[in-house]
């Protein structure tokens, strides 16, 4: 496959990401809608689901905030510099043809670049492994990024302190991140690793799939129950607050444990492009093998 062909596929992956809600997310949302009896949250959930249908049918972005695009890339045989250029070109083209909202601003000048590229953006993360090229693109809006939180706890902190940190973060966020949210929690020796893991936990594992470590899996179950007992609810009007909670962890340092908490709005957007020789497939289902 040549660069031009690959660019075309990446543009399509961005289109799928921005206009089609992944099936696991859609099904989770539908289940919440079916179980909800209160009038106001049910009305809102009905509109969100209708919006998802319109977006998919008419190829319009689900949300006007098409986010800051982030790419997780397994390179296969491609070179980093070459791929980076193709990804930037694809983002520029996608911004025009889908179209996307121009979301890259240089804060020193206040100027919006107009094409979703800029200094270090789109953000590209190189993944190890993979004989074949595999590109996952995620789109996350500013409203949900604004409620991200971080606490560096002593290494001796355990289960209870992690619970407190997460619950306080969700309570404080309230209706701002467009609940029902999907929550990612990263536990790591440092803040940067914690946030990286929290974001992967949200986007690179399908909803409803538990962590392979039983202790973490149990924490996810318990946290999900506790968060939904906060009763923030759909857009703050009661009912379900979180569709799921995903935790990812790294070995911590003997002195500190950073807990990063990131929320995705209900419109969790991702798509994966897999290239094998000259053929390419795009799917919004993610494959939970990224950590292996």
């Amino acid at each position: 496959m040549d660069a031009l062909e690959l660019k075309k596929h990446i543009v399509e992956a961005i289109r799928v990401c921005e206009t089609k809600l992944p099936d696991d997310v859609k099904n989770a949302l539908k289940k919440v809608y079916e179980n909800e009896e209160r009038q106001l949250p049910k009305m809102i959930l009905g509109i969100l689901l209708e919006n998802v249908e319109v977006a998919e049918r008419e190829h319009r972005p689900i949300c006007q905030d098409t986010g800051t695009l982030t790419f997780y890339v397994k390179r296969g045989n491609w070179g980093e510099e070459e791929l980076l250029k193709i990804i930037h070109d694809a983002v520029k083209e996608a911004s025009e043809v889908i179209p996307l909202r121009p979301n890259t601003i240089d804060f020193t000048s206040g100027i919006n670049a107009g094409n979703n590229t800029g200094r270090f953006i789109p953000w590209v993360i190189w993944e190890p492994g993979g004989e074949n090229l595999e590109i996952t693109v995620i789109a996350k809006g500013g409203g949900s990024e604004a409620v991200s939180s971080l606490k560096v706890l002593p290494a001796t902190a355990g289960h209870n302190e992690i619970f407190r940190t997460v619950l306080e973060s969700v309570a404080k966020a309230g209706a701002k991140p467009c609940p029902p949210i999907v929550l990612g929690v990263g536990i790591a020796p440092s803040p940067d690793i914690a946030f990286d893991l929290a974001k992967r936990a949200i986007y690179l594992r399908p909803l409803g799939i538990r962590h392979e470590n039983k202790y973490i899996a149990q924490m996810e179950e318990n946290l999900l129950k506790a968060i939904n007992m906060l009763e923030v609810g759909v857009h703050g009007f009661g009912g379900i607050t979180a569709l799921d909670v995903h935790i990812e962890y790294a070995s911590i340092h003997p002195s500190s444990m950073a807990v990063g908490v990131i929320a995705s709005c209900w419109a969790l957007r991702r798509a994966t492009l897999k290239v094998h020789g000259n053929s390419a497939i795009i799917t919004s289902i993610c494959f939970p093998n990224i950590f292996k």
């Binding site: 106001l40 009305m43 809102i44 509109i47 969100l48 209708e50 919006n51 319109v54 977006a55 008419e58 319009r60 972005p61 689900i62 949300c63 006007q64 905030d65 098409t66 179209p99 996307l100 909202r101 121009p102 979301n103 601003i105 206040g110 100027i111 919006n112 107009g114 500013g142 409203g143 604004a146 289960h159 209870n160 619970f163 407190r164 619950l167 306080e168 309570a171 309230g174 209706a175 701002k176 467009c178 506790a226 007992m229 906060l230 009763e231 923030v232 857009h235 703050g236 009007f237 709005c265 209900w266 419109a267």
Partner: protein, 198 residues
């Protein structure tokens, strides 16, 4: 009991006074998008007597659209509400200076906005967040765009004609009520109960 209202801008004080938190509203007529940087430029131009159009009785829409040009005319592709709380710092003065009758956005505002809504008879309402593809169909016409070059597409002031934009849930009314006060109370109570258990 919550009520449903159909309103047409420019709104009169008595239209606003009728609204109570929890009511559902559908708006037709002129609205304009505006965010934090936009508000500052609008107020500057007002002070110079150079407002592009009168904002009296209109509705400020916290939003930044996706647009495309078709036959050299702008059209809306997706447009829904943005998180309102960023505008809390400037909203009191904005309501006071412009004479707007209402604000629509998402996620809730703070006490200064609640104060302004009571003092100057305005409301704050929320639209379903993230429903942009669907809500964009409520825009009938783009009447104009201002500060596009300075601010870029998301932050420019888009002057829009809408039809039945809604459902807007009244979150702050002109009588000093905020629907999110009860959310905060409920969540704080549940949080302290949960933290005792863990």
């Amino acid at each position: 009991m919550t009520e449903e209202h159909k309103l047409k801008t420019p709104l009169k004080k008595e239209d606003v006074a009728k609204l109570r938190i929890g009511d559902i509203v559908y708006v037709s007529g002129e609205v304009f998008t505006s965010r934090d940087r936009t508000q500052r430029l609008i107020l500057e131009s007002k002070n110079k007597g150079k407002l592009p159009f009168s904002l009296e009785g209109l509705i400020e829409y916290h939003a930044g659209p996706i647009v495309r040009k078709k036959n050299s005319k702008w059209e809306i592709v997706s447009l829904g509400p943005t998180t309102s709380f960023r505008m809390e710092a400037g909203e009191y003065d904005f309501i006071k200076e412009t004479g707007i009758a209402g604000i629509i956005g998402k996620g809730g505002m703070g006490n200064k906005t609640k104060e302004a809504c009571k003092e100057f008879k305005a409301f704050y309402g929320v639209l379903p967040g993230g429903a942009a593809a669907l809500l964009s169909k409520k825009v009938e016409q783009i009447l104009g765009v201002y500060w596009l070059k300075e601010l870029g597409v998301p932050e420019a002031m888009w002057h829009l004609k809408v039809k039945d934009l809604g459902p807007i849930i009244i979150a702050i009314d002109s009588h000093g009520n905020d629907i999110y006060d009860s959310l905060k109370e409920r969540v704080d109570r549940n949080l302290s109960r949960l933290l005792q258990v863990v």
